[in-house]
Symmetry: C2
Subunit: 369 residues, 2 copies
C-alpha cells in the first residue's frame, strides 16, 4: 500500500524519492511524504500530489481489471532485468521503478528471463510491419518473450506476431494499464491482457503524455535482453529506446532496409555509427542477444571463400576446354598457360570429377551440375 | 615490347615471373623466358606459351582499336593505386600487373586519383540497379571516377550512371579490351571506350574465363579508393572483390537492402561481420573513402538526442494543459506532479514560447507548429 501511494504521488522517474525509499524503506518513506517531512528535492517531486489519497481506489480498480500491483518485494519482480537501471539511475533515463501495475496471466520475472524488445516507427512501411511480425513470430516460437510498446506500426506488428505463434508478449504502456491507447489497439491490448502481459509504471487512469513515452522506453529496453529496431525514421521515438538500450549495456540490433526508404533512415544511422548489430533473421537476433546460452546463428552451409580459386591450374585447364568440340592437350596448354605435363596430369583429374571427358582423341568440357 | 610479350606469355597472376621482372628488368626477363633459361617456377608459368610470338600483331591490333599498351615505365601508370597490390603480392589475390591494355581518351593514373569501385550481382534487383545508378551518378557529379567490371546488373548500372552524369568511368575486363563481353553490353562498352576507359591485364583476343574474373577483381579493388558492394547474393563474385578490398586495406562499403531480398544477403553478411561500412548516400561513400580530404558527410540538421526530454518539468506542465478548455494552475500541478510554485513559474515561460495561453483565468495548451 505504501508503494501504491508512492507510485501515484510522484511522476516517474523521481530520483530523490527513490533514494529516500532505498534508504528508509517504502513504508517510512510514504509516511514522511504524506507528512511533508522530506528534503526539498523529495518535496519538489511529491508536494503537488501528496494529498492525493487513492490507494484503496487504485488497488480496487486494478483488481477489477484482473490486474495487480507488482512491487520489488514480490517474487515476480523482474529483479535481474532491472539491475542495469540501477546502474544508470544517475543518468537521465531513470532507475528501477517504485512499483509496476500489471495485467495478464503470466509471471513477469519468468517472462523477462528470455526476452527481446522489438520497437520501431508508428509510421512503419509494409516491409517493416512484415519483418516485425515475422521476427516476433520466430522469436516466440523459439520461446523468447517479445517486449514492445503497443503503438501502431512496428510495435503492434511485433505483439501480433508473437501472439500468432502462441508465444508470450509484454506490452509496456506510457499510461495506466486500464487505458486503451492507442484507441485502435483496444482489441489487441485486450488480447495481450488475456494471453500476455500489460505493464506500466503509471497507476490506473493516468493518461499518455509525450514525456511518459520517453520514461516508459527505459522499461522496454530493460525488460528485453536486447532491443531490435525494425524501422525508425530520422526522428523516431525508437531512437530513444535505442539510446537507452546502449546506456543499459544491452545489445542493440537494427534491421537494414532499402536506402530509398525514409522509414529505415534511423536504423541505417545506427548501423553506420556502429552503434548496433545488423540483424536479418531470428537466428541472428538470438545470436546477438547472446546470453541465451550457445544459441549461435548457424553459418549458411554454402558460405565459402572464393579467394582460393584464381590460382587453381585445374580451373584454368577446365576453362580452356571447349564446350562444343574436343580439343587437344597442347591447345589446352597454350590456352590456359599451364605447362603441358601439368595439363596431361590435370585432365584425368577433371574427368574423375565429372568436369571433362575424352572425345575423338581430345578433351571436352562438361558443365557443372 | 618486352612487356607486351610477357603479358601474353604467362596467365595472370604469375608471381615467379613478376619477381624475375622485378629483379632483372622486363627486357632481360623476356629474353630469358624466350630462351627457356629460367628457374623451374618461372618455367611452369611460361613454358606453355613461350613460343607464342604475337607482340607486333597485338600492338597493331590494340592500335587499330584506338588503344595502347600501358606499362609501369609510363607516366600514366597508376603507381599509387597499385602499391597496395605489391604489399599483398605474396597472397593469393596477385600483385601489380606486368602491363595493362587500355582503350579510351583519359589518363588512367589521373582517373584513379579519386575513384570508387561500385560492384555487385549480375542478377541484381530493380532496387539494386536503381541505387547503383544513382550513386554512380552522384559520385561522377562530385568528380569521382566510377570503376566497375562491365557485367550485367550492378556493374552496368554503375557505368551508365557515371556516363549519364558526364563523368568518368573505368571498366576493368576479364578478357581482351577488344572483346565485347558480355555481348549485351557491346553498346555500353563502345561508349565507355569513347568517353571513359576500358582496362585489362589480358592481351587482345583473350576470352573471358571464370578464373580471369577473380584475377581481374583485384584490379577493380586496387583502382577504386574503396569498394561499394551494392547488392550481392550469398555466392556473388562481388564478395570476392570485397575480400580483396579488405586485403588491400581499402574501405569496404555495402548498401543495406531489404532483409527479405536474396540479392542483399551478401551485403548484410558483410555488415553483420563488421567487415564493411554501411553507406546510404553519395556523401556517406565519400566520407568512408576518406582520403579525398575533408569530404565528411554532413550531419542532418534535425539530428538530435531525445534523451534530454523525459525529466523536463516544462514538458510535463505543457502535457498537463487542456487542448479544448483552460485549466487552473493547481490542476496542472496535480496532473503533472510538478510543485505549484514551479508550475506558476513555468506557465509564463510556456506562454512566451508560444506553447500556452491564458484564458478565462486558466491556461490552455497551444499546439506546436
Amino acid at each position: 500500500m505504501a508503494r501504491a501511494y508512492l507510485s501515484r504521488v510522484a511522476e516517474p522517474y523521481p530520483a530523490a524519492l527513490a533514494a529516500l525509499v532505498a534508504e528508509v524503506g517504502p513504508i517510512d518513506a510514504a509516511e514522511m511524504v504524506r507528512a511533508g517531512e522530506v528534503s526539498p528535492s523529495v518535496a519538489s517531486q511529491t508536494s503537488a500530489r501528496r494529498t492525493e489519497e487513492r490507494v484503496h481506489e487504485d488497488l480496487e480498480l486494478i483488481g477489477k481489471r484482473g490486474g495487480r500491483l507488482l512491487i520489488p518485494e514480490d517474487d515476480e519482480w523482474p529483479r535481474w532485468p532491472f539491475v542495469a537501471l540501477g546502474n544508470v539511475a544517475g543518468q537521465r533515463c531513470g532507475g528501477e521503478p517504485l512499483a509496476l501495475w500489471v495485467r495478464g496471466p503470466h509471471d513477469l520475472a519468468e517472462a523477462a528471463e528470455k526476452a527481446v524488445a522489438i520497437v520501431g516507427s508508428r509510421a512503419a512501411s509494409g516491409y517493416g510491419e512484415h519483418v516485425a511480425g515475422e521476427f516476433a513470430y520466430g522469436l516466440a516460437e523459439a520461446g523468447v518473450t517479445v517486449v514492445s510498446g503497443a503503438a501502431y506500426g512496428i510495435d503492434g506488428a511485433a505483439h501480433r506476431g508473437a501472439l500468432a505463434a502462441g508465444g508470450l508478449t509484454v506490452a509496456v504502456l506510457a499510461c495506466g494499464v486500464d487505458f486503451a491507447y492507442p484507441a485502435g489497439h483496444q482489441g489487441l491490448l485486450g488480447r495481450i491482457a488475456r494471453e500476455g502481459l500489460i505493464v506500466s509504471e503509471y497507476p490506473p487512469g493516468v493518461t499518455p503524455a509525450r514525456h511518459r513515452f520517453l520514461t516508459r522506453n527505459r522499461l522496454i529496453a530493460a525488460l528485453g535482453g536486447g532491443t531490435v529496431v525494425v524501422e525508425a525514421g530520422r526522428r523516431s521515438g525508437a531512437k530513444n529506446t535505442a539510446a537507452i538500450t546502449k546506456a543499459l549495456g544491452r545489445p542493440l540490433m537494427v534491421v537494414p532496409g532499402p536506402v530509398t526508404s525514409a522509414s529505415s533512415v534511423g536504423c541505417h544511422e545506427l548501423l553506420r555509427d556502429r552503434q548496433a548489430d545488423s540483424v536479418c533473421s531470428v537466428a541472428e537476433i538470438i545470436e546477438s542477444v547472446g546470453r541465451f546460452g550457445d544459441d549461435l546463428a548457424t553459418e549458411p552451409a554454402e558460405k565459402e571463400s572464393e579467394l582460393g580459386a584464381p590460382q587453381g591450374e585445374a580451373m584454368r585447364v577446365y576453362e580452356a576446354l571447349g564446350k562444343r568440340c574436343a580439343v587437344g592437350d597442347e591447345v589446352v596448354s597454350v590456352e590456359s598457360g599451364v605447362p603441358l605435363e601439368r595439363v596431361r596430369a590435370l585432365l584425368p583429374e577433371l574427368e574423375l570429377a565429372g568436369l571433362a571427358r575424352q572425345l575423338d582423341g581430345g578433351w571436352q568440357k562438361l558443365e557443372v551440375r
